[in-house]
Symmetry: C2
Amino acid sequence: MTEFGLIEYVAKLFGDVDRQEWEAIGDDCTVLPIGGGEVLVMTTDMLQEDVHFLRSATSARELGRKSLAVNLSDVAAMGVKPVAALLSLALPVELTDEWAKEFVDGFHSLAAEYGVALVGGDTTSSKSVVSINVVAIGRGRAEQVKRRSAAKVGDFICVAAQLGGSALGLKDILSGKINSEYAALHRNPMAQIAEGEWFGGRSEVHAMMDLSDGLASDLCHILKLSKCGAEIEIDSIPAVEGDVEVAVCGGEDYKLLFTVEHSAFEVLAREFEQTFHAPIYKIGRIVASEEPRINWLKDGNEIDIEWRGFSHF
Amino acid sequence: MTEFGLIEYVAKLFGDVDRQEWEAIGDDCTVLPIGGGEVLVMTTDMLQEDVHFLRSATSARELGRKSLAVNLSDVAAMGVKPVAALLSLALPVELTDEWAKEFVDGFHSLAAEYGVALVGGDTTSSKSVVSINVVAIGRGRAEQVKRRSAAKVGDFICVAAQLGGSALGLKDILSGKINSEYAALHRNPMAQIAEGEWFGGRSEVHAMMDLSDGLASDLCHILKLSKCGAEIEIDSIPAVEGDVEVAVCGGEDYKLLFTVEHSAFEVLAREFEQTFHAPIYKIGRIVASEEPRINWLKDGNEIDIEWRGFSHF
């Protein structure tokens, strides 16, 4: 069973339970209107030792920080400010107190930076691996929320950072180069948390999500839910080390992917640069299409490549 | 490091992060006012294979149902109706599709019974054990919420069901009698979900929580937060098979423990019986005390026993 097969099975099974006001699964977060024009958004991620991390190749502090970062990235991708988190930890009995303390120190360092309160959790022992589950909650105005279904034909497709660094880092770690620059980036992803909230305030930004499985895979989620296709100019992709395939297929970048009303792009890019001292990269555009298909272009001509994203399952 | 040592370390560390309107950790759930006189309550529990369950001694369906039951029990213990859940699953690659489907079937069966929507989750693979994390969310009126800190001197201490059955079942399972009546009860705890919401509507019910670690341990949480002591008449404890020590020290009963304004007890008990066709058991009373201490009484006389609850850490 693949990860997506299971999700579809669950979604179908729960078709008989009234969702009340909760939005359907499909975005980075679920959305709950709470009155007064406000919403809560909520996401959860599980990190399992030997699948998401090797204990020998990451410090406890880095792991604590990353566990929260990947969840705050999902909240930010909805255009909303993260406000709270819940942390569940299963810790092998042979782990030292020091390891556990360093883990929560790392988690806390990022939480404190963004004013994210720890509002609940669970700790238990484990007879095998470290298991971590984090829930992140955001709160904001209903009109801030960016959904994957909101892309419009003609929109520019943009990313807000260079891509592929984390995947290069994973390669380095797996080949033993655990102290390389990219290995450090893989362990310490810089999620675009303030940037996400900023885009939430811009109505010309239509669809948004964070890149966790690679552009080739993640963009398809937007295309499916927005019922359209995409053209991507591969030379426009801001690839770390110029490695476009890694930038497109590599996972865990935790950078924002979004679509923008094309006539508003120049102003948005200028004001983003003024605020964050970094550029937005325009990599393609949304096109009408029966299928949620990406056409990869080089110098405006379609090229025949089959790029796929990354899956933890 | 014990479970409680880590929780205290985390609580201290997060002292510098503004909790906004979220209530402090200490109850079964955290509480968030959302305007219009309403609150959300939220809880999370992690279940780790070989610590919380043996895959060889439980069916996937039972495990799915229990994973949700223990969380709905926490929501009900706040006096609030559960409305939504999030499910994270790490599944070993050798597990069959059938196992995963049966797990979610079990989870769904309980969710559908109580109208609990699945609003989010995560699935991933595991190179070792099954790890499960569930979040349950309740929604209700602010005045319904029952807190551990609300017990008053003179209150009767009550439970709403017989105790100890789950612990007897665990003993059976560990000794190989996996098909005994109590073993089935251990795998299929009947959390008092409707009862919890009903008590939420009764202002004469002061403090409430669910029994997950045993009366001896759990009652102390109420005593600490309510700054009082307790006298328990051991012959009044509704112990399964008459085994009072198991009823007091055994974990995972998931039954409600609560304190009641003593003058209102008779009416409450009668109306509960009319509604649920089951009795409330009065087992003792809240007394003034500098220390959060339980005095165990037999025929009104203090007896010298040292009973402790159950810990998964």
